[in-house]
Symmetry: C2
Subunit: 573 residues, 2 copies
């Protein structure tokens, strides 16, 4: 008799498991049930559907060869049975049966399984504030919500949108509203920065600056305390600082695992509600596997398990579950946390831990920021791509990389290479030597990622001292706070002169890079000099020059003006 | 007394070593000598200078902050003494002195060193054929040659250019001639494909097809046997097959190490003429280091040492030499062979070994080819990027990756990630799980690199059987050669119908993917079926379906029509 494999959940991990296991065990009876009517869609494409880039929601459910992944498709192409609008009510592990209910008529039946897969996904969080249940307060939980949002906009019923949550989905939705529909949009983020825990504040700051240039209002460190409506429909979002008009609200404040079924079935679930699995993605019942947003996944860097709700992981996990169902003992190596995001004309990406996260996890972590070219400076499409590298000072292990640049795949290339290195437990010395492909239209002879590793090496080896960017910016906003500091601007005097005039020649010293070896006697010995150039590279060299003549009263501004300028600070004018 | 470090060679590895060692040892006396008048230039930018993308040769010698790296720059900014037009005549290792000659006046002097660095680079090969020394037969050895070529073109003295050598430089020069100057250009490559040893023939074939579309004539398997001239100036290039008119010839047929000085100084030099170094880049004399094109570098994958003449490696090697000069025992991990190349509107790249090289090196190697999307199929800039993965069947070690796609950084991202994995000795199972950054504008949920690793896994595990592409193409050119074969085209009948008509319904079977499970009884049991789709993915699934019903008389065409179409085969017409 052929093996019965039952899969609960039909969006990402479920279908992936089903199709792979059917290829490994062509004789297996594979069934997917899902309570929704729409299955196997690219949820990450929702913002592009709302924006209009994707005209029909079916495109999100289509294969690359233009077939819609519906029940009929799974039956005919894959040999997999799919029951939509079918809710799993309870798992009877003793008898290996799942009680299901047909939502159409409320009828119930028991489905037997030899092996069960839970791919129940996650539910979007909804803030426990007044008005959270008003009409036109949406979460981006499924395609139906997306369709409803797009209909409202298309009918001209939305002028102002407020997005609660400055994570990836919130930012993508803001772009969808503003760029193609011309709506007004504001993002509220309770944490002090956008993309909290995904990038450090400098990188969030560059992104925020660009969003604001594009007309998106961004309020960080500011949470919604209430949503107000009229006639049951949203009208305003209230924060401690202001009240924002809103015809539509998107609440994108994270997700939580859907694990009720697992918990009620007696499976081990962690305190956060994630289904506990081993590295073969097996639950505490060896006949039950789980994959996707509903499980606690081990982070490769911290060794800790937690929710990792990403479509790219769901696919990898689904494959691993299928292997194990078929007797191939594939083990999941764990996740590192790679992400990337388009925001208007910019791209931001990261992999691994931020400095903040790494320190919180107990690493003896440090970070460096560079702002070098993505390709040869003479190649027409050349652009600066600030990169940040987080590493452990003790064992020099790479812990994370962040990148920001113009829209395109230049940042992606560095993040993907870094993700591969993180997976392999590489050190910054390994990164220094990685042989990134080089030709002038694609990279610099020493790639920006290699160069950033070299800066990390210099810092780790005590050959580089940097000023904290936040401390520097605070000083610029209030000179009085550090009367013992001056800036040493080593750019061309034409570039430095504006700031010399603005801040005075006693606070803003200008000696060009090439003249420092000849003119260092002009420099103060009793004040801390913050050495500033465009990318940070020249400043590091000048630090060594000054140290060698006894002027070690200096710190480098890593990333230099290339970073500062992208943060949109007011004093740069 | 401060340490005297003498560096012979001022293009890439030399200046890199000089600047880094001066930062590590600010008190050292660091001197570079070079026989040329122009130093520290981006030689890889020469094609972009010739094309006109770079208007002034100085841009190739400039820093990103617009200072020209001449003697004065090195003295003032770096504290490094540079003597140009100064030739090293002999090394006296006993006395630690180098005899040098000033080319301006023939005067000679001895320069003392504590440590010596040989960064003497390479010389371009010149074929030993009649006419190789005619006027207007150029090698791309240095900036002077580039300046001379550009002057001739700018004066309108070149209508037809012949390039001998179909490697990266030859292809870049062909684009430079054709794209911006509108010249006629032909490439002659003695080996049967472009980019020999860098990519397998399918990838060279896609590139060749694009070059021909852009008007570059490409003749592979065809070497120049003579160059003919008039009045001492080139007029024609002769091959066994034809005679090509030529107002200018570029000979780009590889380079050889410049190691006379090392050999005459009694240092160990390998039979190919490369300076032998250990993994700290120290020669057989512990006081002499060497870096760049002149050394034999260990390949990480094969363990063998040989010339690796790439600017990106020279930079890495220079840093390692500097570290060791300063007492930091950095070791070179060896190279893997990453490269990338722009050719008009396409990009090609690779890292590691080709299948051909891997087999020649004794690996039990196999390769798979995919042709999937670089990003979500619904995202406007989506394109197919054929990828090829070479691996060892025994231990599943990753050996190489090749990629081809539209101009941009999509291929780069996958090659750079693969390069990082090769460096770390990863397996195809590691590649399957690498967490490539995902969002629809940048990747597919399961990235093309992950997907290719999964196909490699299927092949390695005996779950996929592919037809050799060359064998398939030979069959298509001559049906009579395999009367026992038929094609099974599983694309939409609208797509398949042209070929069904052309080749006959008995040779070209058409059953759409989604109907195969229902209609397999129509298929032959006595002929080998070559299953064909667009990307190869559906074909792999159908292979499993057919096998499961006893029809294992089938093979998959990896990469499918996405690959075949890019090879420009005539029968697709």
């Amino acid at each position: 008799m052929s093996k019965k494999i039952l899969i609960i959940g039909g969006v990402a991990a479920g279908p992936k498991t089903a199709c792979r296991v059917k290829r490994l065990l062509p004789d297996a009876e594979v069934t997917i049930i899902d309570q929704d009517s729409l299955i196997s869609y690219g949820g990450c494409g929702i913002p592009y559907y709302v924006s209009g880039d994707v005209s029909d929601e079916k495109e999100l459910r289509n294969t690359s060869f233009h077939l819609t992944r519906d029940e009929s498709f799974f039956a005919r192409a894959k040999g997999v049975t799919v029951s939509t609008r079918t809710r799993a009510v309870a798992v009877n592990r003793q008898e290996k049966k799942v009680l299901v209910e047909k939502l159409a008529d409320g009828s119930r039946e028991e489905l037997a399984y030899d092996q069960l897969v839970l791919a129940t996904g996650s539910s979007p969080n909804r803030l426990p504030i007044a008005g959270a249940d008003l009409e036109r307060v949406f979460t981006i939980s499924d395609l139906h919500q997306a369709i409803a949002i797009k209909e409202l906009i298309a009918k001209g019923q939305v002028g102002k949108a407020v997005i609660i949550g400055g994570g990836a989905i919130g930012i993508e939705m803001a772009e969808a509203f503003v760029d193609l529909w011309g709506l007004e949009a504001a993002i509220l983020e309770f944490m002090p920065q956008l993309l909290p825990r995904l990038v450090d504040w400098e990188f969030a700051g560059m992104l925020e600056q660009h969003l604001q240039e594009k007309g998106v209002e961004v309020f960080t460190g500011e949470g919604a305390t209430a949503i107000e409506g009229e006639d049951g429909r949203v009208r305003r979002v209230v924060t401690p600082q202001r009240t924002l008009e809103a015809d539509l609200v998107v609440m994108a404040v994270g997700v939580r695992a859907r694990s009720e079924l697992a918990r009620e079935g007696g499976l081990l679930v962690d305190p956060q509600g994630n289904i506990v699995v081993n590295d073969r993605l097996q639950t505490s019942d060896p006949n039950i596997y789980a994959a996707g947003d509903c499980i606690a996944v081990k982070n490769r860097l911290t060794g800790k398990a937690g929710i990792a709700p990403m479509g790219s992981l769901a696919n990898k996990e689904g494959r691993i579950v299928a292997d194990n169902l078929a007797g191939i003992p594939t083990r999941y190596q764990g996740w590192v946390g790679s992400f990337t995001l388009k925001a208007f004309e910019r791209c931001i990406g990261a992999t691994g831990l931020t400095l903040e996260s790494a320190l919180a996890e107990g690493f003896d972590a440090a970070a460096v920021t560079t702002a070098q070219s993505d390709r040869a400076h003479f190649f027409p499409t050349q652009a600066v791509i600030p990169l940040r590298m987080v590493f452990d000072r003790q064992n020099r292990q790479l812990l994370g990389v962040q990148g920001f640049g113009p829209m395109g795949d230049a940042v992606l290339a560095r993040i993907d290479a870094a993700a591969a290195l993180l997976q392999q437990g590489a050190t910054i010395d390994d990164v220094s030597q990685v042989e990134m492909a080089y030709a002038p239209p694609f990279a610099t002879a020493l790639d920006a990622l290699n160069a950033t590793a070299n800066v990390a090496d210099n810092l780790a080896s005590g050959r580089l001292r940097c000023v904290d960017n936040a401390v520097f910016l605070a000083w610029m906003d209030d000179f009085a706070s550090r009367p013992d500091w001056v800036a040493l601007d080593i750019r061309h005097p034409n570039e430095a002169s504006v700031l010399v005039e603005k801040f005075g020649a006693d606070k803003w010293l200008s000696i060009p890079y090439i003249e420092v070896r000849e003119r260092f006697q002009e420099l103060p010995t009793d004040k801390m000099m913050i050495i500033i150039c465009d990318a940070g590279t020249r400043s590091s060299e000048i630090q060594i020059v000054l140290d060698s003549v006894g002027l070690d009263n200096n710190l480098v501004l890593g990333g230099g003006f290339n970073l500062i300028r992208r943060l949109g600070v007011s004093w740069l004018g």
